[in-house]
């Protein structure tokens, strides 16, 4: 069974990625979903925005040496919209991203991140603008996301409040984000509930 990993804080440098409505097709083009495992997804995030048809790198924050090693991703509104492909957060995680801080996230993407143990937290529009400016001018700035305190501390000493759903926060802090064990422990209750549903019993009188 999976071991319990509590995620309380993420510390690292950041990568700024500007733009609203960045969809999961952009995060990982569909052709990479043809691989049978997630193992190589870390090679592909934003592939078509980072490389031209000949494989030559294009300007992109994920290609920029000054952000190399960044583990906190800064994004704008509705990040991860579109396809439910978990390959998208898997690609970001395997590239080295350990937390995503943005104005808002699409529902399925955020759900996928929780189950993987990848925190997505929201901050005010004004704060993300400031954070992006900060990291662009000082790429070596370190950030500490503290889920217990609901804060993001910047290298400059500034502290920004972050939000995330209580259930997500609890799951990450207590290490129950990998939900299978928790759900499986209730299998008796699942069977009881199923037995009350008319369609599960063939609509017998």
């Amino acid at each position: 069974m999976a071991t319990v990993t509590r995620i309380q804080r993420v510390v690292g440098t950041a990568i700024p990625l500007r733009g609203n409505d960045i969809d999961t097709d952009r995060i990982i083009p569909a052709r990479y979903l043809k691989e049978p495992t997630f193992a190589r997804m870390g090679d592909y995030p934003f592939f078509d925005e980072r490389f031209d048809a000949q494989g030559k790198p294009k300007p992109h924050p994920f290609n920029d040496p000054k952000y190399c090693g960044g583990s906190v991703l800064f994004v704008n509104k509705n990040f991860g919209c579109g396809s439910s492909r978990e390959h998208a957060p898997q690609a970001l995680y395997r590239f080295g991203i350990r937390a995503i801080v943005g104005e808002s996230f699409a529902a399925i993407f955020a759900g996928n991140c929780v189950v993987m143990g990848l925190p997505t937290v929201t901050v005010h529009e004004r704060d993300i603008a400031e954070l992006m400016r900060l990291v662009e001018s000082n790429p070596q700035a370190k950030f500490t996301l503290d889920l217990a305190a609901r804060t993001l501390a910047c290298g400059t000493g500034e502290i920004v409040p972050v939000e995330l759903p209580d259930s997500t926060r609890t799951a990450l802090l207590e290490g129950s984000w990998d939900s299978t064990t928790m759900l499986h422990a209730n299998l008796g209750k699942v069977k009881s509930r199923a037995a009350t549903l008319p369609y599960m019993t063939g609509f017998k009188a």
Binding site: L33, S84, I108, T168, T180, K189, V190, R193, P198, Y199
Partner: protein
């Protein structure tokens, strides 16, 4: 249960399916039907094996191949070795875990969101999950249907449940009557345009009003299908006589007295008169005209008589600028007359028999513009068979469309059906994202199947109302 009033279908079905409140505060929700396909499941089955878990309810799990299958050459092994490998993995996994599988040779094969309803697997008052964001389609039946990722597929396989938070419900009334030549696709594109691609975050969308009441089930599926494009994880319509008539006699629907008892249950889950909603939005159906997208998300849409929007004063001017850069259009240009190179009729949004009939009506006796590559991809083997019985395939092929076998095809271009270079596609699918149709520079204009047919004939965007 009849004693409490003011509740929505969402509230009722949620309560019936609640197994427990988890230590995290999330609900453990029972999932009545799990549909799986070849793309998002292989790692989930690997995780089950690693943890020594079984599939909890294999009899409530159904599998097909749709995303990656070729729609022309169907002989095995597939020419694309990756497609062959993923198909084999699904065949092996379903065999090992005792799950029904409808492969390319099955007359039940098709896009998951087409075959679930067609087989009567999808039913009102049920919860449903599938590793695909367009699972909201099944909400057309009054089903709470969730699009999920691979780790959640693992959870549903292992426990037939999800750990999930409850949403608020937004009621969307589409009032009045649609004009001729205006379709369900135009309705949902108009809703997304009005509320935004992120507007549905935190909400389930309940669609109603006279326009929705008068829609057939396939039209309701088109509307619910694109809920996720408006940011809503779930979209649904309350079941009614139209729903029950559709379901009667389908393979997985009970018959005789069982059907009567099913209908009684289905009626009991509909939203109460005076149900309380988190939000209510009204649209006038009479004001909707044939609608097309011009940009890089489904909310960037205009009516066919409109001009493309200005950047100035727009709340996301940078986003619009990016869209114009990709598409190569200018603000203020008319939507009418935008050029196209490719026409695609298909996808879980618009590949059902009524969609093909609407497109065939436009194409009948006409010719596809010689500069346009046009394909029709029915949503399932059964839709294909039905269309052929009606002679629709002949209408399409005589007009110059290619007639294919069922699959997701050029909606997401995981099979050989792709755009090349900067081609522009008039598409009946659901996403105009950059690169979506298989070329990083490719461009997509979303519209109804009838509008795609009309565009194919003309090599440019036209008003379908002139072709009916």
């Amino acid at each position: 249960m009849a004693t409490s009033s003011g509740r929505t279908l969402y509230d009722k079905v949620w309560e019936f399916h609640t197994v427990d409140i988890l230590p995290t505060g999330q609900t453990q929700l029972f999932i009545g039907l799990h549909l799986i396909h070849e793309i998002t499941t292989a790692p989930a089955f690997d995780m089950l094996r690693e943890r020594g878990l079984k599939v909890a309810y294999p009899e409530r799990t159904f599998a097909t191949v749709d995303h990656i299958v070729p729609t022309d050459m169907r002989t095995r092994p597939f020419l694309d070795s990756q497609a062959e490998e993923l198909t084999r993995l699904l065949e092996n996994n379903t065999r090992q875990f005792g799950i029904d599988f409808y492969g390319v040779d099955s007359d039940r094969q098709g896009i998951v969101h087409v075959i679930g309803p067609q087989l009567g697997l999808t039913q009102p008052g049920m919860t449903l999950a599938c590793g695909d964001s367009h699972t909201s389609t099944h909400g057309a039946f009054g089903t709470l249907a969730f699009g999920i990722g691979t780790s959640q597929v693992r959870d549903v396989l292992a426990t037939q449940t999800l750990a999930i938070d409850k949403l608020k419900v937004r009621r969307i009334n589409v009032n009045g009557k649609l004009a001729g030549g205006v379709y369900a696709k135009d309705v949902i594109l108009s809703i997304i345009r009005k509320l935004g691609v992120a507007g549905g975050k935190g909400f389930a969308y309940e669609y109603g009003g006279a326009v929705v009441d008068n829609m057939n089930m396939e039209e309701r599926m088109t509307v619910c299908n694109m809920s996720i494009e408006g940011g809503a994880l779930v979209g649904y319509v309350n079941p009614d006589e139209t729903t029950f008539d559709y379901l009667k006699g389908r393979p997985f629907v009970p018959q005789g007295k069982g059907f009567d008892r099913a209908v009684a249950y289905w009626k009991s889950v509909t939203s109460d008169q005076g149900a309380r909603y988190g939000d209510v939005v009204d649209l006038n159906g009479a004001e909707i005209e044939p609608t097309v997208t011009w940009g890089i998300n489904p909310g960037q849409a205009v009516g066919i008589s409109e001009k493309l929007p200005d950047l100035s004063g727009h709340s996301d001017a940078a986003g619009l600028k990016r869209a114009y850069e990709h598409m190569g259009w200018q603000p203020g240009a008319p939507a009418l007359g935008l050029p196209i190179n490719v026409a695609f009729i298909g996808s879980c949004t618009n590949s059902r028999i009524s969609d093909l009939r609407a497109a065939a009506r436009v194409a009948k006796g006409k010719k596809v513009n010689p500069a346009v590559r046009a394909i029709v991809v029915p949503g399932s083997a059964e839709v294909k068979k039905q269309a052929e019985q009606e002679g629709l395939d002949k209408i399409f092929t005589e007009a110059g469309f290619e007639w294919r076998s069922a699959g997701c095809s050029m909606c997401l271009a995981m099979n050989p059906d792709k755009l090349k270079g900067r081609e522009i596609c008039a598409s009946s699918s659901n996403r105009n994202f950059i690169g979506r149709q298989g070329s990083p520079e490719g461009r997509t204009i979303l519209m109804s199947p009838a509008m795609v047919a009309a565009a194919a004939l003309n090599g440019k965007i036209v008003d379908v109302r002139e072709y009916l």
